[in-house]
Amino acid sequence: MEEIVNVEAVSRRFSLDDGSPHHPAHSFVSALSDASLRVTAGEFLAISGPSGSGKTTLLNLIGCIDQPTSGRILVDGVDTSRLKPGSMATLRREKIGFVFQTFNLIPVFTAAENVEYPLLIQGVGSRERRLRVAEALESVGLSARAQQRPDLLSGGERQRVAVARAIVHRPALVLADEPTANLDTHNATQLIDLMHGLNRRLGLTFIFSTHDARLLEHTERIVRLCDGEVVSDNSTEGGSRG
C-alpha cells in the first residue's frame, strides 16, 4: 500500500522563554520525543493517550501547521521539513483535511459555504464547487441543512459539516483532533460511524487523536502516546518506543 505519512524520529520542544532571538531559551518542555510512525493510504488510525501526552502536537506536525525541532515528516512523499511556509500552505490546502474538536466553522457562512471554502481557496470553478459541496453534504447526511448557519445547527451537525469540509477537496489525508470531545454519546457514535463509513467507502485516510473509548472500539490501529513518546502501536509487533 502507498505510504501517506512517514514520521521519522520527530521531536518537538517548546521554549518556556518568550521566544525572542534576543533571549536565548534556557528551559524547554518536550511535547514529543523521537516519535516515529508510518501510515499507509486508507488507514483509520487513532492516536490515543492522556491529556498532555502529545497527541495534538503530533497531529499539528503531520498537518504541517507546526514544524518539528528535530526529525522529519513526509506527507504523500513530500519532506515537509524542507518546505517554505507558502509551500506548506499549498500542501495543507491540497492534501489535508482538518476536523477540529470545537468544529471551527466560519460563523458567518452557511453550512454549504463552509464546505465550499476549501474549494474556494483552491480556485475551483463555481459550477464544480456547487456539485462537490452537494456531494459532500449528502455524504454526511446534511443536504437539508445546507443553508443553515452554524449557530442554528446542533453540535453533531456542526461536526458533520466540519467533516464534509475536510473531505470536499478529496484530500490524501484527514486529520481530526479529538473530534468527539464536544459531542454527546449519540452524536459521537454517529460521527464515528460516519468517519468509518467514509474511510471504507472512499478509501480516505483518517488520523485522529482521541481518548474516547467509543471511538477506539471502532479503530483497527491505535498508536498510544505517553509523555510525548510513542508507547505502543498495535500495527507493529510490540510497538515502537521512543
Binding site: T56, N60, G63, I65, D66, P85, G86, A89, T90, L91, R92, R93, E94, I96, F98, F100, T102, N104, I106, P107, V108, F109, E113, E116, Y117, P118, L120, I121, Q122, R165
Partner: protein
C-alpha cells in the same frame, strides 16, 4: 472573489453594536468635515460675491502704467479714451456693464474741522446697473443727473467724525491733475456703511463728472466690468484681453481674484484650518479604528487559525481584513454624507447667525453649502484612513502561529 466579498461583508456585521459604533464614529468624522467644509465654502462664496458686488466687479481695466509707477499727480496714470475702452468691453458676451471710476483723496471740512478722505467717483447709473450694493444708514444714493449742488455719500465713521448728517454741507479740497488746489462744496445725500470700520472712517463718494471737474481731468482711474456670473470670469477675460491690446493706450485687465487680497488671505487661512481639521479627523479615525480592528482580530484568532490551517494564503487574510475595514469606511462615509447633508439642511433652515468677524459690522449667516467635491474628498479620507488602520491588525492576523491560534480561547 464574490464569496470573499460576501465573507468580508458578513464579518462587518458580525458584531452589529460595535460596527454601528464604528460607523457613527467614521460617519461623525465625515459629517463634521462636511459641516465645517460646507460652512467655509459658504463663507468663501459669500465673501467672493460680496467682494464682487460691493464694487470690485468681476474684472477691472487699468493702464499698464498704473502698476508700473506711482502717480506724480492725480490721474497721471488714468485711462484717456475710457469711453472707447468701455464700449469695447461692453461688446463681450456675458458682460452686463462697465462702470468708470476715479480714485482720489483730499481734505474734507465742515467749517470747524478738517479730515482726510479717500474718495471714489462713480457713474451711479452704471454702478446700479451692475448691481453693486451700497448699505445706507440714512439718505439715498447719488442722483445720476443732479440739478444743482454736488451730491456726496460719506462713510458712517466720517459722518460721525465730522458731526454731519444727511442734508448738511461739506467742502472738499483736492489737487487737480495740473497740481493746483481745487475745492468744491458738496451736499451729503446719504451715509453708508461698507462693513469695514476703517474704510467708513475715511470714505466719500461723488459722481464722476463732479470729480472730473474737481480734479480738472477727463480721465478715469479704471473701468469696472460686471458679468452675468462669476464663473464666466476666465472665459470673458481670455476673450477681452486680446481686444484691449488693439487699443491705442496700453491697458491691463485684472480679474477679481487678482484684486481681492482680503478674500485670498481669508481663503488661505480657512483652507489651512480645514486641512488641519482634516488631518485631525484622519488620525482620530485611524487610531480609534486600529483599536477596534485589533479587537476584532483578537476575537477571531481561532477562526483565522482555522482558515490558515486549511491552507488559506496569508495574503488573503491581509486582504480580508483590509477589505472589511474598507467596507466599514465606505459605509461610514455613506452615513457621514447622509448625516452631514441632513444636519446642513437643518442648519440652513435654522436662521442661525454668527457674530460679525473682526473689522466687520454685519453678523455672518451660518449656512452650509453642499459641496460634492467635499463629500467625495471626506469620504475618500476616511476610507483610506480605515484601510490604513487595518494594515497592522491584518498583518498581525496573517502572521499568527496556526497551532497557537487554534488553541486560542
Amino acid at each position: 472573489m464574490a464569496k470573499f466579498l460576501l465573507l468580508a461583508f458578513r464579518n462587518v456585521f458580525r458584531n452589529r453594536r460595535r460596527t454601528m459604533m464604528t460607523l457613527f464614529m467614521v460617519g461623525g468624522g465625515v459629517a463634521g468635515l462636511l459641516l465645517v467644509g460646507g460652512f467655509f465654502a459658504f463663507m468663501f462664496w459669500g465673501l467672493r460675491e460680496s467682494t464682487i458686488n460691493s464694487g470690485l466687479g468681476h474684472m477691472q481695466i487699468f493702464t499698464a502704467d498704473h502698476f508700473n509707477r506711482d502717480e506724480v499727480r492725480v490721474l497721471d496714470t488714468g485711462i484717456d479714451n475710457w469711453r472707447q475702452v468701455a464700449a469695447t468691453a461692453k461688446t463681450g458676451e456675458h458682460v452686463r456693464g462697465v462702470a468708470p471710476r476715479i480714485d482720489f483723496y483730499g481734505m474734507v471740512s465742515n467749517g470747524d474741522k478738517s479730515s482726510v478722505f479717500v474718495g471714489s467717483a462713480v457713474d451711479p447709473a452704471a454702478e446700479s446697473s451692475l448691481g453693486f450694493r451700497t448699505y445706507f444708514i440714512s439718505g439715498r444714493d447719488l442722483d445720476p443727473k443732479p440739478g444743482g449742488e454736488v451730491e456726496a455719500l460719506i462713510g458712517v465713521g466720517l459722518a460721525k467724525s465730522m458731526n454731519v448728517k444727511v442734508g448738511d454741507g461739506l467742502t472738499l479740497l483736492a489737487m487737480t491733475s495740473d497740481g493746483a488746489l481745487n475745492g468744491v462744496d458738496v451736499q451729503i445725500v446719504g451715509i453708508v456703511n461698507s462693513g469695514v470700520a476703517e474704510m467708513d472712517a475715511r470714505y466719500l463718494r461723488i459722481t464722476l463728472p463732479s470729480a472730473q471737474r474737481l480734479l480738472q481731468s477727463d480721465r478715469v482711474t479704471n473701468l469696472v466690468v460686471g458679468l452675468d456670473r462669476t464663473e464666466n470670469t476666465d472665459e470673458v477675460a481670455a476673450e477681452l484681453a486680446p481686444r484691449l491690446r488693439g487699443l491705442p493706450q496700453k491697458l491691463v485687465l485684472k480679474k477679481w481674484i487678482d484684486l481681492a487680497t482680503y478674500y485670498k488671505q481669508v481663503r488661505t487661512l480657512f483652507s489651512t484650518i480645514f486641512v488641519f481639521l482634516g488631518v485631525i479627523a484622519f488620525f482620530m479615525v485611524l487610531m480609534s479604528s486600529v483599536n477596534t480592528l485589533l479587537m476584532t482580530m483578537f476575537e477571531r484568532t481561532r477562526e483565522i487559525g482555522t482558515m490558515l490551517a486549511m491552507g488559506t494564503p496569508r495574503a488573503w487574510i491581509v486582504a480580508l481584513f483590509m477589505l472589511e475595514a474598507t467596507l466599514i469606511g465606505i459605509l461610514g462615509a455613506l452615513v457621514g454624507v447622509l448625516g452631514g447633508n441632513l444636519l446642513g439642511f437643518i442648519l440652513n433652515h435654522s436662521g442661525l447667525h454668527l457674530p460679525p468677524p473682526p473689522g466687520n459690522t454685519y453678523p455672518l449667516a451660518f449656512k452650509v453649502l453642499h459641496v460634492p467635491s467635499l463629500m467625495i474628498g471626506s469620504s475618500l479620507l476616511v476610507i483610506v484612513s480605515l484601510a490604513l488602520a487595518s494594515i497592522l491588525p491584518a498583518i498581525r492576523a496573517s502572521r499568527l502561529r496556526i497551532a497557537e491560534a487554534l488553541s486560542h480561547v
